[in-house]
């Protein structure tokens, strides 16, 4: 618990989280302004209640960039600057330290998701008014149910985010530079995004699972949800396992 507190302390002190909160708000304003001036298909149902959910898939690359930057700073940059060993020269195990970093990442991602959701409500209401219901994927929900679904979708999205975060964790442990970690992570994201067109690969792609929250609102059915959850669990377990083994064996030369 002390290690987790330490890692969270550093995350909040670094101000990156606040920076991403500002960036996400700016992105939402730009997106809302663009939709207002040149509405895309389905944008006619936008209102303050629908906007956060409508934005969720569109703002996902920002979360991947946030995780890449945070993990690059927490692992690769600490290795490069020598601060990684500050804690390891204390009665602390390597697995414990990595777990603390991952816990701090999970907390930050969850906080950012919730703040982005709140920003969505504010920006959506400012542009279209609050509206009388949530409309998403041709389904309509009452205000209270809509808020519940939106909250559920944002919280649920933390899972595929962390699945991808685990891939970035392995990259960060293997790489000794921040730039390397961020570059490779974004490269993986772009490749997986490009592969979205190959439908047979979709069930195995962690990027595809970023939209799994749609199963909660649409009629995709629970089987889709189960496959998606299995996929995310596989990413979490496999990449966590490899990351732990790699981190335990890593010689800290710097």
């Amino acid at each position: 618990m002390r290690l987790i507190k330490n890692e969270l302390y550093k995350v909040f002190k670094l101000n990156k989280l606040y920076f991403f909160m500002v960036i996400s708000a700016a992105l939402m304003i730009v997106q809302a302004a663009a939709e207002l001036s040149n509405p895309s298909a389905g944008a006619n149902v936008l209102n303050g209640q629908s906007f956060p959910l409508w934005m969720l898939s569109r703002i996902m690359p920002l979360f991947i960039f946030f995780m890449a930057l945070t993990l690059a700073e927490m692992i690769s940059d600490e290795y490069r600057s020598g601060t990684l060993k500050l804690f390891l020269l204390r009665p602390v195990g390597r697995i414990g330290l990595l777990n603390a970093k991952l816990a701090a990442l999970a907390v930050s991602v969850l906080i950012l998701l919730l703040v982005v959701m709140a920003e969505g409500y504010i920006v959506g209401t400012a542009f279209w008014g609050w509206g009388d219901r949530l409309v998403a994927d041709d389904a309509a929900f009452s205000t209270l149910r809509g808020i519940g679904i939106t909250l559920q979708s944002y919280a649920f999205t933390a899972l595929p985010c962390l699945g991808f975060g685990m891939v970035i964790t392995l990259v960060a442990i293997r790489s000794s530079s921040m730039g390397g970690t961020i570059g490779i992570s974004l490269g993986v994201m772009f490749i997986l995004t490009a592969l979205e067109n190959v439908r047979s690969l979709n069930p195995y792609s962690i990027v595809h699972q970023m939209n799994l929250y749609r199963s909660l609102i649409g009629d995709a059915g629970s089987s889709n949800l189960s496959v998606g959850l299995l996929n995310i669990a596989a990413y979490l377990l496999v990449f966590y396992g490899i990351s732990i083994v790699t981190f335990k064996k890593k010689d800290l030369l710097i």
Binding site: N6, K85, L252
Partner: protein
């Protein structure tokens, strides 16, 4: 070995690819020692220290810190040790915040202990400033404060005076000597600054190419069966020629104000008489004590010859 061992390695080995960084290293640091771990750059000092502290896994061999096996019980072993490898801190945090994060990981360390450690290295007045505003010397001192936080019996410092100006070096040196005397802390210090080590260390180990060439008390290493003099004369060429032909002269070489002569045993007065008899004006004969630097170069050369054979 007379005392109890604070640090011991047995057959420590480490290679990176085909390059052997450390080979069959057996170190013995007694409690109360200020132990100088010497060697040229690339000799394997830093790799050894990282193996001592569990940051690099040895290919084979064991490390014991204060009698506790590092590989078997890392957490217990490391909790008896303080270490500063390089002054790496979170620059965006203050010195105090950095120490606070470290202190949280060892049960029983409170704010009072952090303040005490900062006082010991005279860093209290800058403790609230961000580390990125510190000079290298201040970071080194903060590193020593961090190493002292848990009241360790053994402190391991890797090149603690690296990059410091003469005043900074003197400050670190005084801090080490004071802590060893006042608190009975055993220090294990790696360095390539031989003059610094000679001034403060009680024992040294010299490594080259990852191998321990010698390990002993400093005063024993500096004992010699020969005497060296610097002889000041305006007629250096003639003095050198005569000295080289005399019995009992082991070596003679040119020096800044005359010649430098190494004599087997005590033959200084005979040398003086012989030179005067040959009309060589001897202005002064200054005995030269053997330094650790000389010993270091001698042992390095001997190591090279041994390797060549």
């Amino acid at each position: 070995m007379s005392g109890e061992l604070a640090l011991q390695t047995r057959g420590l080995n480490k290679s990176f690819g085909k390059r052997r960084a450390v080979g069959d290293l057996n170190l013995h640091v007694e409690r109360g020692d200020i132990y100088g771990f010497l060697g040229p750059n690339g000799a394997g000092k830093t790799t050894t220290i990282r193996m001592l502290l569990g940051l690099i896994a040895p290919d084979s061999g064991d490390v014991e810190l204060n009698g506790i096996h590092v590989r078997r019980d890392f957490k217990k072993a490391i909790s008896t040790v303080g270490a500063m490898l390089d002054p790496s801190f979170y620059g965006y945090l203050s010195g105090y915040e950095n120490l606070k994060l470290i202190a949280k990981l060892t049960p029983g360390l409170d704010d009072a202990r952090i303040r005490e450690a900062l006082d010991l290295v005279q860093m209290s007045d800058r403790a609230r400033d961000k580390v990125k505003t510190y000079s290298l010397g201040m970071k080194q001192r903060l590193g020593i404060a961090g190493a002292l936080l848990n009241n360790p019996g053994l402190v391991i410092l890797d090149e603690p005076t690296n990059g410091l100006d003469p005043q900074g070096i003197a400050e670190i040196r005084d801090t080490i000597v004071r802590l060893a005397a006042e608190r009975g802390i055993t220090f294990f210090i790696s360095s390539h600054l031989l003059h610094e080590v000679e001034q403060i260390c009680t024992r040294v180990g010299i490594v080259k190419n990852g191998r321990l060439l010698v390990e002993d008390r400093v005063e024993r290493l500096l004992v010699s069966d020969s005497e060296t003099f610097e002889l000041h004369t305006p007629d250096a060429g003639r003095a050198l020629e005569l000295a080289r032909g005399m019995q009992g002269v082991r070596s003679a070489s040119a020096a800044a104000k005359g010649i430098r002569v190494e004599l087997a045993g005590t033959g200084a007065s005979e040398l003086n008489r012989a030179l005067v008899a040959q009309h060589v004006a001897v202005e002064a004969m200054i005995p030269q004590s053997r330094t650790l630097e000389q010993f270091f170069f001698d042992i390095q050369k001997a190591g090279e010859r041994h390797e060549a054979d």
